[in-house]
Amino acid sequence: MTSPQNASAGSRFPKGARAFPHRDLIGISSLERHEILYLLAEAEQYVAFNRQAAKHSEQLAGLTIINAFFENSTRTLLSFEIAGKRLGADVVNMYAAQSSVKKGETLIDTAVTLNAMRADAIVIRHGSSGAVGLIANHVDCPVLNAGDGQHEHPTQALLDALALRHKLRERGNEAEDFTGLTVTICGDILHSRVARSNVLCLQALGASVRLCAPPALMPVGVERMGAQPFHDFEAALEGADVVMMLRLQNERMDGQYIPSPREYRHLYGLTPERLALAREDAIVMHPGPMNRGVEIDSAVADMATRAIITSQVEMGVAIRMACLDVLTRKARGVVGWGEGEWV
């Protein structure tokens, strides 16, 4: 069995904790370009590691990781759980439907409780924007944001970047970042934390980002974040190198935003015909879960050479392993990551 190696040794990134001087991972917005690249570089070793038959290391042995999910999740929770277990940590899942928490204990009391149980890292998903940052202010260990409201979902953006990079490499493009690429993100931008994190991450890595949604699902001011807004999906697809589809987040909608799924597909569904408007070999992404026949047709989702939707899931585990590894280095006393070395 090959144990993952410390890829940062001898790399061009700053030494020790200066490569990633953050206690928590709350959002892409607080990361510099080189810090994003560092996490991607650290994740590469786990991609290879995860492809072995025996994929267990003892790197985080003895550490307790709590996955506190205040909102429904299947894939993200599973991905974080697998990531922690493969690194040898004791992983505990706390699934608290938001309603039951709202009835009694406040979020901060819950956070303090988790802290008192001496977690070494806490992974949190919560339905309110800013909630994960709020918890981070009340605990002593690293906090990873697994999605907060409509704010950010940083590991999703990182895994998307990693999956995209792998696909580009497979095609012989060895560039470190995405300079020159045009990425079209289409769907319920308003309610999507994935879109926000991806806009920030893709732009930090040099891509230009187009956002496409009907007016009611397009947040105000995206152009001031550097993204180009579109309402016409076909115009947004024109010449795009990457097309990322998002689902409609019906559970977040306060009121009716579109008449029907059928009508939505008519205007914004990614069909093979529409995909033909993008670059000839344009890459198709989707963070899942997909609604086949609504925002994406099966014929597109299953294109083996172009859709990297399952690769996104695979990269998710590697990215989360890298994040857990990097953020617990201080607690584990990894050389160069000790006390007083945070910026």
Binding site: G130, P219, R224
Partner: protein, 407 residues
């Protein structure tokens, strides 16, 4: 407590409606009286400081005496948004007595039962019980038919209706104004036109019914334009604002600080500037605190889940004085905004240093520096959006009806 001995405040500069006057203010039997110091008067030397009317705060959500007195507030109009709401004469009568003798509370009658915007409340009976005006609360009355009948009724009773200008359908569950900041923070947001629409309708209905309306908070450029135009046409509308909307823009919500979660929410910088202009040109008539102390159980939450509102009584005067220092308004107008205009709207004999009015007086050092500290507030809770901000201007002595209040 009644004033037992006449009081003369000498050696100060009086802030009167006609200008700043160096001289003596004499109070007897609870009222401001003409003349100079007389034998037997209790004499207080103002030491060259300002002698100003006690503030009349039009629109607070809690009776919080220590905070009001710190801020030089001697009268406050209490919004009906209590639990249960002020929609019953007995509750109005009780609240009207609740601050006496050293703080007068003027309850605002709930416009509709339970503030639900459907059935008119017993407004005339509440007036009898001491309600000084009517308020729709922190909600907009969505049904225009109900609003029209309310305004017709209020016009008959000659009572001002204090409105909340936020179209409920557009505002929804918004915690922020739609814009770059809300998008970056991922907060549920509503376009600022929620205010424009609500104001446009209310102005039209006020014009129809002849009622007097006071839009408690007008916070957008377009909303202020509507008020300006309506005033020019002779509509009986007045407008107010709180310091949050002329001191802060939505940038202050960064880091999800829930002390900046307000209703209506903070606006973009252009709107903040429009509010400052509107204070300068007279479109805005009243600056109020919107005082709403909220403890950690309401504020130590994710932004959108937190209750809106700020503890504003202590900072009301100091923040308004920044407008004087910036040359937007002069000192006389500052006290028109803080006291005189709201007293007139409420129909109470106070709010100015004029003969025959109630001797609610503040001695003010307009330059005294201090730092706002949410941990050390006089208010019941420290939810100020101005935390750690340097401020200038402090009340050093305060009299209600000629009787000194311990500060």
């Amino acid at each position: 407590m009644k004033q037992v001995r006449p009081l003369s405040i000498t050696g100060g500069t009086l802030v009167t409606p006609d200008g700043l006057v160096d001289g003596t203010l004499r109070c007897d039997a609870g009222l401001i009286v003409p003349g100079d110091v007389q034998d037997g008067d209790e004499v207080v030397d103002a030491g060259g400081k300002l002698v100003a009317p006690g503030l009349v705060d039009l629109g607070v959500f809690a009776i919080d005496k220590p905070a009001f007195h710190f801020g030089g507030i001697t009268r406050a109009a209490l919004m009906p948004d209590l639990s249960p709401p002020l929609d019953h004469p007995a509750r109005v009568r009780f609240m009207a007595q609740s601050g006496k003798p050293d703080m007068w509370v003027h309850p605002l009658a709930a416009a509709t039962q339970g503030l639900e915007g459907q059935q008119l409340a017993e407004i005339a009976l509440m007036r009898e019980a001491g309600a000084r005006a009517i308020a729709t609360g922190r909600k907009w009355i969505g049904d225009s038919g109900v609003m029209l009948r309310l305004l017709q009724y209020a016009a008959m009773l000659d009572m001002v209706v204090v409105t909340h200008a936020e179209d409920a359908g557009i505002a929804g569950k918004a915690a922020a104004t739609a814009g770059e900041m809300a998008t970056r923070l991922g907060l549920p947001s509503a376009p600022k036109e929620a205010e424009t629409l609500a104001l446009a309708r209310d102005i039209a209905l006020a014009e129809m019914s002849g009622a007097r309306i006071h839009a408690r908070q007008v916070t957008t450029r377009e909303g202020l334009d509507l008020v300006r135009q309506a005033k020019a046409r002779g509509v009986a509308i007045t407008a107010g604002v709180t310091p949050a909307h002329f001191m802060l823009s939505d940038l202050a919500m960064g880091d999800y600080r829930t002390f900046t979660r307000l209703s209506p929410p903070l606006r973009e910088e252009d709107d903040r500037q429009a509010v400052v202009e509107a204070i300068g040109d007279g479109t805005i008539d009243v600056i109020a605190s919107g005082h709403d102390p909220r403890g950690p159980e309401d504020k130590n939450l994710p932004f959108a889940d937190a209750a809106p509102g700020m503890a504003g009584a202590e900072t009301l005067l100091a923040m308004t004085l920044t407008l004087v220092r910036d040359g937007v308004i002069d000192m006389v107008r500052a006290f028109d905004l803080l006291a005189r205009n709201s007293a007139r709207l409420l129909g109470v004999g106070a709010g100015a240093l004029e003969e025959g009015l109630e001797a609610d007086v503040a001695l003010l050092d307009p330059e005294a520096p201090w730092i706002v500290d949410s941990r050390e507030m006089a208010a019941a809770a420290g939810n100020t959006p101005f935390d750690r901000q340097p401020a200038q201007g402090r009340v050093t002595m305060l009299w209600k009806g000629g009787v000194a209040i311990d500060l």
